[in-house]
Symmetry: C2
Subunit: 326 residues, 2 copies
Amino acid sequence: MLSEFEVIRKFFSRTPRPGNRVNLGVGDDAALLSVASGHELVAACDMMLVGRHFFADVEPAKLGHKCLAVNLSDMAAMGAVPRWCLLALALPIADEAWLAEFAQGFHDLADRYGVDLVGGDTTRGPYTACVQILGEVPSGTALRRDGARLDDDIWVSGTLGDAALGVAHVRGELKLDTRAALHCLQRLETPQPRVVLGEALRGIAHSAIDVSDGFAADLGHILQRSRAGAEIVFEQLPRSDALIRSRDAHAERVRDAILAGGDDYELCFTAAQSQRATLAELADKLGLRLSRVGRIVAPAAGLVVRDADGRDIALPKTGFDHFAAT
Amino acid sequence: MLSEFEVIRKFFSRTPRPGNRVNLGVGDDAALLSVASGHELVAACDMMLVGRHFFADVEPAKLGHKCLAVNLSDMAAMGAVPRWCLLALALPIADEAWLAEFAQGFHDLADRYGVDLVGGDTTRGPYTACVQILGEVPSGTALRRDGARLDDDIWVSGTLGDAALGVAHVRGELKLDTRAALHCLQRLETPQPRVVLGEALRGIAHSAIDVSDGFAADLGHILQRSRAGAEIVFEQLPRSDALIRSRDAHAERVRDAILAGGDDYELCFTAAQSQRATLAELADKLGLRLSRVGRIVAPAAGLVVRDADGRDIALPKTGFDHFAAT
């Protein structure tokens, strides 16, 4: 059995990237880092628990990917460049094969975005992964929830609802065809954080959030912080082929997944109407779908979602509340 | 039952201190912070799990205190000024009384050291508290594990072994008298991070670490990183009156607690012999015991602990390994 220190040395100690200004990384009481001059530090953390955020039999590489991905998604929502992370990891036993796969999934994603693991904590306990992500943004340019303006377009990247449908499929609450199931599970287990999009939106978007609790709930956070209302056209909310194919058999379920499914890790953002051409070009350049789904209105309207005929759609229980009974 | 967002608003959203340069705190996807010019960012995290790091019936205020204290101790070991923290908290139900007490313990300690809680994550699960601490240190002045020099004195703050004896008492493995038990439990449950000492040691100490895994193991980390050996005089290792009173009944237990107990959250540091008078003055000024316990020798010696007659004392299983069977 590996000791705690062998676990750290073998799986979590790597040479930092020269450009990341890691003055002291893994192996001391804390890491020493230099934030670039003229930049703000951007800090967030997300914790994932077995049985709550992922299934007990999740492949460790996917857990390694996802616990970092959800944190990178927070950097994306701020328009920040992720630089460094810390990982607090609990696991029942120091299983070398499990750790090797977990570390692979984690480091592969970290490498894709140039992020250095600079510290953390390992301990014995039920599988728990808590990542702290640290990034940089030129001072004053971060995307925030509180910047939405009247008549802004509301945009969403990628597609909504896939992960929620994947969860329902695994739980046996509905049956997707094989291709749809594969797609939805991939979206659930290995979400792709929109880091490049987030950075590109600085100076373009007025506000942004990542869709983790469900589209309606997360847009609701923008509206609350920006003191604004929103009108959404349901048919314009982006959905994958998998969801479209599943629509007839599971209409209500698919609608709820799109509006309130959660775990999408797409960006929802608002921008002036004058930015439409710029955003269409950006979508082309990134090879990423960007959908205009509605607009910001006066706060009194609240959040209104309309169907193709202009009728209001009642919102499902909006968003994932970790303390709600489920 | 409170929702996740009500929990955050009610217990964990407070106005940041003006001097801490919190440009955006709790309530967005990430916090925005400005690191002082000419300073390095110092980052660490520690996770505490129920049943592993604390007893299931721990008072919530003490848990709130301790999960922050162990992180502040990492800042102390670096000589850093703690500024900001993030808290990822899992709890089985959103129990308002529990949360109020936990938050009180957490915020009281944060206030003592001027630390702002700027973000985090709350979720449902077995009691788990993961704190990320962020601090600042003037560039190039941090205390590190790798700076010990030949003939340095080795110093320890406070006293060693109290917390370990407290654990043994609670487990019924030995019986302390009432006064000793109170003292040891207080040391176990509400450790006082040596933040002020750590800051004062910049420019004085050559190396430092906080004693969390046990004195021998933590000094061992300094020796390993500094490629050095050490000679320790056991009788000079600082112990409380409670430990001295318990010595006759539990001699071996007390010795192991001092050398390898863990959870002390004192600082172990090395400094040139020319600093003795300065350190005596510092101890007076801070009202904190600083004990000279040995010296740094050539690496070949390893770590040697001698009794009053100059005989080697065999080291107990050195230090707390989270993956060792216990």
